[in-house]
């Protein structure tokens, strides 16, 4: 009878898994349907769910609206207003490179999550159950009525969505848009309407999944967002294409995660597994999938907009003046000096990120992970092993190099969106599976991180960090002025052409990821040393998204943008009133900023096209000579 016991002890977990899996599956179907129809992958899908959960909470719990009305209102409001809005945004995003698309939807994620935190606070709140939690006995297991309802609602909607997609006229048009958008227009169906409906449905599934998951998860913005990010894993199971497989993927992930939860507590390693499973799937599918998935459709580029070269005096004078100013900072800012120390450390981080995403055109959404590796290794080396401070710093950077090389593996196979997803997944995996091991932060509270002996005063340490920041800038400048820089810029423009000249571009990609990881790790170590002790919180994977948004807002320039980004991110908020309000709205501001930057880029192409068209008209008018007149006459 042992097997019966085994089954009955597992059943409750299977039930839990099926319930949450059903919701993941529905959310993932909405995500995939939108992505396939509109061509824009919505990183903010999970954040929309979070927003919906809080909105529902506000309506139902605080305003006393009956739950069915609150539910309909929430979903209708988000989907009905969001759908047309997203079509307006998405239309422009289809024109920009995938990296910019990622920036825009990541910005949206940050903005939505930031607004939620600003209104409701960052602390998790309990989400009162709005469905009956009474249990009924099914064969072998007690099941809550709420569980049955949630599962059934999600499952029925998933089926309805599938039937709608396969049978209805609009659904047919959506599939047709996937096959060939131009042909849909030629066939007399309005692609704008089709895409608007797709956005509406996608946002609707996200909103609903947020409300359905809310009671079991509680009101916790990052956690809810991450949960719906599970949808990425389910979407990967369906190859980002097949809706039934996507739903099945959701169920599978839900059940597996619940199963691991059962066995997790006994095994230290397994504890992070439930929430990392989707990313294991995500990475697995993307790395093992046939080439088809990995390839991004080639998009014609409009002529690049050339940045105006700075005058010579500014090019050489600028950095010198900046260093001089930075050296004078301790005399100018008084007690706010630690802000500037952290600013200097962030310069290193943003220099590293800019090298990767700007100069070489790769995407990385796991920079917080690199920094975490640096910070924890540095503590082990300098505090634990007692290595000299500078040596420990250097070695901590080197420890991250193989990690960078590991992230370069997806970069070899993937590009654009899939690379962004893979690196984000890698960051989450690192957090879930490795952060808490003894190789990194362990489980015994914050790690001690020393400052260099004799230079541990705030002023002295500021100069230490500043020196490292300057060295990092010099290193990147030297590297990018060498052959590597030319190869990286060429790589950003056309890997194909670079390969055709005989360059093994995979080697180039590994190099740039290694250099970038090295610098990011050093930045992490510096930040840790600044605060004296360090734990996992500052290295949350969502931080990586924030970094990307900040860099996007900071403008152009290989060194200028990182410096501006560091000032914006680490220093400026404290100066703006220094109140909590500013800190609260900071991610919102960067999120909105990132969206605006992406939209301006999307519209810049439009502007260029309009200008080109104008020039063409003018030229045609001038050229229309006797020959054209004869043509008209001949008709």
């Amino acid at each position: 009878m042992r097997s019966v016991w085994w089954v009955s002890s597992l059943l409750p977990f299977i039930v839990v898994g099926l319930v949450s899996g059903s919701v993941y599956g529905l959310a993932a179907m909405g995500l995939v349907l939108t992505y396939k129809t509109t061509g824009v992958f919505n990183f903010a899908h999970g954040a929309v769910a979070t927003g919906a959960a809080y909105l529902f909470f506000e309506l139902q719990s605080r305003q006393g609206v009956p739950w069915p009305i609150a539910l309909v209102l929430t979903v209708a409001l988000i989907a009905g207003l969001g759908g047309p809005l997203m079509e307006l945004v998405g239309r422009r995003l289809r024109q920009v490179p995938v990296a910019t698309q990622v920036v825009a939807t990541v910005g949206m994620l940050l903005a939505i999550q930031g607004i939620v935190v600003a209104i409701f606070g960052a602390a998790a709140m309990s989400f009162p159950a709005f469905l009956s939690t009474r249990t009924v006995r099914l064969p072998g297991v007690y099941v809550g009525v709420d569980q049955i309802v949630v599962f059934a609602v999600a499952a029925l909607l998933a089926i309805a969505l599938f039937v709608f997609f396969r049978r209805s006229r609009v659904g047919l048009s959506m599939q047709a848009v996937v096959d060939n958008p131009d042909l849909v227009g030629l066939g007399g169906n309005n692609p704008v309407r089709v895409r608007t409906i797709a956005w509406t449905i996608g946002l609707g599934t996200a909103a609903l999944s947020g409300v359905l998951l809310g009671p079991s998860v509680g009101l916790n913005a990052p956690l809810l967002t991450l949960l719906v990010v599970q949808a990425f894993g389910a979407a990967a199971v369906g190859g980002f294409t097949s809706l039934p497989l996507v739903y099945a993927g959701g169920l599978l992930l839900g059940v597996l995660a619940a199963g691991v939860t059962k066995y997790g507590p006994g095994h230290q390693f397994l504890q992070g597994v439930p929430s990392s499973l989707p990313f294991v799937f995500l990475l697995g599918v993307m790395l093992l999938a046939p080439r088809r998935l990995a390839q991004r459709p080639v998009r014609a580029r409009l002529p690049a907009v050339t940045p105006r070269p700075l005058p010579r005096w500014l090019r050489t004078g600028g950095p010198i003046a900046a260093i001089a100013l930075a050296a004078a900072v301790p005399a100018l800012v008084g007690s706010r000096l630690p802000l500037f120390s952290s600013g200097a450390a962030y310069v290193v981080l943003f220099v590293s990120l800019a090298l990767l995403v700007r100069t070489s055109g790769q995407t990385s959404l796991c920079h917080a992970g690199f920094a975490a590796v640096g910070a924890s290794s540095f503590s082990h080396l300098a505090h634990g092993a007692g290595l000299p401070w500078a040596v420990a710093l250097l070695v901590a950077g080197l420890v991250a190099v193989p990690v960078g090389a590991l992230v370069a593996v997806p970069a070899i196979r993937l590009s654009g969106l899939y690379l962004a997803l893979a690196t984000f997944g890698f960051g989450v995996l690192l957090q879930q599976l490795v952060y808490r091991t003894r190789f990194m932060f362990g489980r015994n509270g914050p790690l001690t991180v020393p400052r260099p002996s004799g230079l541990d005063g705030d002023v002295a340490f500021y100069y230490v960090v500043l020196t490292v920041a300057v060295l990092a800038c010099v290193l990147v400048t030297v590297l990018t002025r060498q052959r590597l820089g030319r190869l990286l810029r060429a790589l950003a423009d056309s890997p194909l052409a670079l390969g055709a000249q005989g360059v093994d571009v995979n080697v180039t990609r590994v190099i740039v990821f290694c250099v970038s990881a090295f610098l990011a790790a050093i930045a992490g170590a510096l930040l840790a040393a600044l605060s004296g002790s360090v734990d996992v919180a500052p290295f949350d994977p969502f931080r990586s998204l924030l970094y990307l948004a900040v860099l996007a807002v900071a403008g152009a320039g290989q060194l200028r943008a990182p410096v501006v980004a560091a000032l914006l991110f680490a220093v400026l908020p404290a100066y703006l009133a220094g109140s909590n309000a500013v800190a609260t709205y900071e991610p919102v501001a960067f999120g909105v900023g990132a969206i605006v930057v992406a939209l301006v880029e999307g519209s810049r192409d439009e502007i260029v096209a309009v200008v080109r068209r104008g020039a063409e008209r003018g030229r045609a008018r001038l050229a229309r000579g006797p020959a054209a007149a004869r043509m008209v006459g001949a008709r």
């Binding site: 030629l186 063409e616 008209r617």
Partner: protein
Amino acid sequence: MKPGLELRGVSAGYAGTTVLRDVSLTVPAGSVVALLGPNGAGKTTLLNVASGVLAADAGTVWLADADVTAEASYRRAARGLCHVPEGRGIFPSLTVRQNIALHVAPRDEQVAISLAVDAFPVLGRRLGQLAGTLSGGEQQMLALTAARVRRPEVVLLDEVSTGLAPQVIDEIFAFLASLAAAGASLLVVEQYVARALALADYVYILRNGGVAFVGEPAELTDESVFAAYLGTTTTVPVGA
């Protein structure tokens, strides 16, 4: 003559490349115009501009008496323009029936299917099959059904015979002839020059993005068509 479709002084191209330069072309209502020229001359670009898949950089596009230059392709389609694009103009992941249904309002689906099957009986046995699994010839027939079931006034056909067996090509050209006989205006881009000329009332030859010849098929000897293709002579007369 009343124009079915007219392009006036159109220039167009893709991302920095200008393909068409100041091209004017008229398809008189109810007539067949063959659009010939070597590969890369800009024929497909011209059809794309006519149907709204590609915006013109300069010039205007007219359907009947309406300036449709600023209209999206689905609006032009609603005005009675049908573009059967290069390659296979079908949705491979939909069934044959769904492909046909997408061309008409839902209430007209049954009529559309019977019209399509009348035109190409072989499709009648394939209605439930995914379009992507049809043979090349059947796919092309399916793409062409749009030109019948939507009852368009102007049909643009882009190399609809490419890569098909001779019997299939015969069947397709018979279909085109029936469209013309029913009063539709056709603009036909075709690799098989002789067949296109046999069907056409007027001929345009494009070369390097400009019109190299306008006239009637009878004015073209085989030799001069070939010359225009190969560019061995530049003395082809301009104007009819």
